[in-house]
Amino acid sequence: MDFINFYLIPGIVLGSIYALGAIGVSLVFGILRFANFAHGELMLIGAYITYSLIQFTGLHPLVVLPIAMLFTSLVALGIDHSFYKPFRASKSTIVIVASFGIALMARSAVQIIWGVDQFSYSPGRIQMPMVFFDTLRISPKHIWIVSFTLVLMAITHVILSYTRAGKAMRAMSDSAELARLTGINTENVVKTTWVLGASLATAAGVFLGWDSHLHSMMGFYMLLPMFAAAILGGIGQPYGAMVGGLIVGLAEELSAYPWIGENPLLSPAYKAGVAFALMIIMLIWRPSGLFRGRVF
């Protein structure tokens, strides 16, 4: 039971958070053709806006989440308009460097506005886990996080498969030039992509903050596992990113399980290395990812 309580469930929770972030990374890559190094900062901004909303209204994180998504989407649209749009016709390497600069600026802005201290959404309150069959312990917030992730993934699926805007996103991801020749308003597609990516990133940031705590480096630490997840699933493939996120999250947690003997297989300090290793192995073994994404 320890395996389930302390490794499997945290792995699924972490995997859900990575997956939500990785969908955005994958969508932006597919449609705007660049690796967005500032995606972690959208999570960071979303999580901190949620914190302020909680302070202001006294409501639950999940209740203020939609409002935080809205604000973060506006921030993402503002960033795109001021920093990425002028580079739309430039090489992707230039935009990648720009996104790195934006990541630094956004993080500094958060540190100036909210400070560098750690925050918690519910300080001083400890929720007792629910106990099933005497030994299975599940914290209610973990159930909330995983179920909300599933709901958000389902919504993403409906948007991508059944709406005009979502189909246009997939079309532009296939070929931006053909999308233009077809009369698709590509600037609108770009805006939709940012709103969807930023909203999912907000959810990921809030879930991460809720699961542990908020700190100004949380977005940066999420960057590697999110990219690992996106590459694992096949870059530009949002469904691949969902699966990739879950795999990376599980791999990170399960690598610390004492599979052989009594000590952890890998020290938990190497968790970040697991994501990195998975990414490298995937790039060597199957660069297009599990879901046949783009190859560089």
């Binding site: 991801s173 296939d174 070929s175 053909l178 999308a179 020749l181 009369g183 698709i184």
Partner: protein, 234 residues
């Protein structure tokens, strides 16, 4: 009255011009074919209509309206539909989704049109839910043409619609082109397959080195010994 007229168009992608004062004209109800050797600027001339080129001179008029250097999305909005030679379908989208994207700028109910397209291209009706990238070359060409026709265009531009297709598909595509034209849509088409395309065309243009070489009725060009020697393999 000409539907589309390209006048003295010069331009290219980089510094050097590929087109030198090229002029083409398509009248109501016509099929016009542009032939010429590789690198003559045939496809480039089509892309110029869509504002995908740096133009250094000349103009493009659609039914009298100046559309020179207009944004591609706006040109589509005017009813000009273009089927590129390659990458002309969205490979991960299903056949039906490709057709829906063709109707992206339509705000009305396009379902009746969808049924008409499926009638025109029966193989597509059977593969509605299949990803367009998994289809054969001929069927992909059908998706590309069907996608363009979702708009009920004022003019249809086809870039080598039969390139790389088997003779069976080639004949079928030419037959469909005639059928589309019979429904009242003027067609401007670039073709490698000069013999077959001139046979269906009202008029033809011959481009060489980015310049107008000669023009005439399709059948006259077909019987012109000089052109026969140059492009039709004697």
């Amino acid at each position: 009255m000409s539907v589309l007229s390209i006048e003295n168009l010069s331009g290219g992608y980089g510094e050097a011009d590929i087109l030198h004062e090229v002029s083409l004209e398509i009248d109501t109800g016509e099929i016009v074919v542009v032939i010429g050797p590789n690198g003559a600027g045939k496809s480039t001339a089509m892309k110029a209509v869509f504002g995908l080129l740096r133009l250094s001179g000349g103009s493009v008029h659609l039914a009298g309206e100046d559309i020179t250097n207009m944004d591609p999305a706006q040109v589509v909005n005017k009813g000009v539909c273009y089927v590129p030679q390659t990458n002309n379908v969205f490979p991960t989208l299903t056949v039906q989704e490709n057709l829906e994207m063709g109707a992206y700028i339509r705000n009305d109910d396009f379902r009746p049109r969808l049924l008409e397209i499926y009638e025109m291209f029966p193989p597509l009706a059977e593969k509605k839910k299949q990803a367009a990238g998994e289809l054969s070359g001929g069927q992909r060409q059908m998706v590309a043409m069907g996608k363009a026709l979702m708009l009920e265009p004022t003019i249809l531009m086809l870039d080598e619609p039969t390139a790389g297709l088997s003779p069976i598909y080639r004949n079928e595509i030419f037959q469909i082109i005639r059928q589309i034209n019979a429904s009242g849509v003027p067609i401007l088409m670039v073709e490698q397959n000069a013999k077959q395309s001139l046979a269906v065309a009202n008029r033809g243009y011959v481009l060489v080195d980015g310049r107008n070489r000669t023009t005439g009725k399709g059948i006259d060009l077909l019987n012109d010994p000089e052109i026969a020697k140059m492009f039709l393999g004697g």
